[in-house]
Amino acid sequence: MMHLLKKELSELLNKQMLLGLLVSFILIVMLGFVMTSTVSGTLEASGEVHIIDLDQTDFTQQIADKLEDKGYTVKSVTEEKAYELILDEQKWNDAAVLPAGMTELLLTQHEACEINSVTALKTTSTMSMAFADNSSADYVSKAVSELLSEKYLSGEMAFLEHPVTLTPYTVANGKTVQASSAALVSSLAMFDQLMPLVLFLLIVLTSQTIITAVAAEKTDKTLETLLSSPVPRSVIIGAKMLAALITAVIYAVVYGLGFLSSLLFNVDRTAENMDVASAFTNLIQTQDAIHALGLQISFLGWIGVIIQLLLTIGIALTASMILGGLVEDAKGSQTASLPILVCTMFPYILSMVSDIRGMGLTARILLYCIPFTHTFIAASCLRFHQTGLFLGGMIYQVIFVLAAVFAALKLYQSDLLFTHRFSRNSKKS
């Protein structure tokens, strides 16, 4: 095994690979900067504004009318309930809470009032959160400013500058905590978005590497030499896969470090803009909120995530061995890796821009059939207490990897490896 492994590694870990790795590292660092700056600057408006109206006055009605005049669809409730219950019942992602006495404060006492901005945290995807977050409180705040300006156009009241202050609330796992969902997502995304990116790159790179390696061995007929040698075929396959796994881990570590360094650099820059005490307090508050909402992943959970990661790489490697074995020559290796690329790209992109777990039944079934999907959503499953989905995904991956290994062994012990070409082109027999 060691003998073959050394040969496989010397084939894979060459100067070309190291150069590619260096270039990829630089690209990943750059990508990290672009992503973090894009995400932090992205908060787009959407068509709905949700209001929990606890004041129920003409003025709060005027706020709703104002928003509707601007083209928003305003949905409001007037009953006083726990925020998590209202958001759950109404299927809202956010809401602005107009407190009782708000009109009195603003119009009679001429004082600023506090509006609670409630956000339901359903995923840790920053892109998804950016699209899902309607920022109802922001729109309400603007509408209040405009209404008051119209009413007191000639006045010089100081409170008009900031008639409303927003207090962010986040709802998750059936709990509500006073914290900004954006801050929570930023904190969680450090890890939750790094892993899918690294996983995506790992699957694509390792599958391409192994398919090309097997195809090259077929073209050069070195595979026939190996398979007719006294070394057991399971050892030949095992050595090839282990070498690809080691290469993949090197890629993972380098990419992970590259992405982390860009994130840490960003954190440093943020910290430069505030004093150390404030930065520390913010960090503690965010961590407290994460714990209060039960969004943290336990040590055992992380072990599970790592197991899913390894299972996914195992599936990709074994599938690549099968596809590589069926490829006729090196030219066909590009096309052969396409199924793996597609099966990786779909769940990766969807997990970045949307919440896969909240999709329609058909879409979910289709996506859950792809074994890679479960790793992309693993962290989210654990954070939002969907342990059944997490464990089910892991069991599915175990079954899938065992079936793939069995199929690979069967293929490499069968005629198909060589007769595949005869079926289409019988130049030699």
Binding site: K221, L227, S228
Partner: protein, 243 residues
Amino acid sequence: MNPALDVRELAKSYGQKQAVNGVSFQIPAGQIFGLMGMNGAGKTTILRMLATLLKPDSGDALIDGNSIVKNPEKVRACISYLPDEAGAYRSMTGKNYLKFIAGLYFRDEAEQKDCAALGEEICGLGEALERKINTYSRGMTRKLVLARTVMTKPKLAILDEPTSGLDVLNSLDIRKTIRNCANEYGTAFLLSSHHMQEVSTTADRGAIMKDGVFLAEGTPQELLDMYQAKTLEEAFEKAVRSA
């Protein structure tokens, strides 16, 4: 004494096409057997079945007493297979390639060293062995892979078109190496070839194949006599056209 190779009614088909149809022959130790036939005659299929890469539909072959059907693992320990136009790992040096192949056949380091040293001697590439294989010419690569095939002193060496695409001098070197190894180590050789000259000068016995069956089998002289031909090429033409 058992022959190095004893082929019994070997057959193989690919879908509707019968590639090999009940072929039987024997090769004693130290002898060279040449398979002659046109493209698609079934030569490579026979070689691949004996190399345990393909499973026969029926029939069997015993290599040093081991069945290719029942004991393919044991067979692999006593054969060496050189595919047509086989390459080697281009990023390795010639020396490292021979060491690597030796490592596949022997666990003991001393045995690996001796085996690789023999390979170096057989290929006769000298200092070029220190260079990477991607700098080798076709002839050099062929000498290297032939050396790795015979350096393990297999009971049976299976060579598919060993001189295909080589110039006259390189072809002559390869043929000499095969003859020497058969004489010196008692290795039995089964080679397929398009070159009748190669078979007539190198092989002790040969067979003319068409559509998966042997049309004729014997020593080069017996084949000439059988078809009343002056050259093996003429005998081959007569055999194939009359079949």
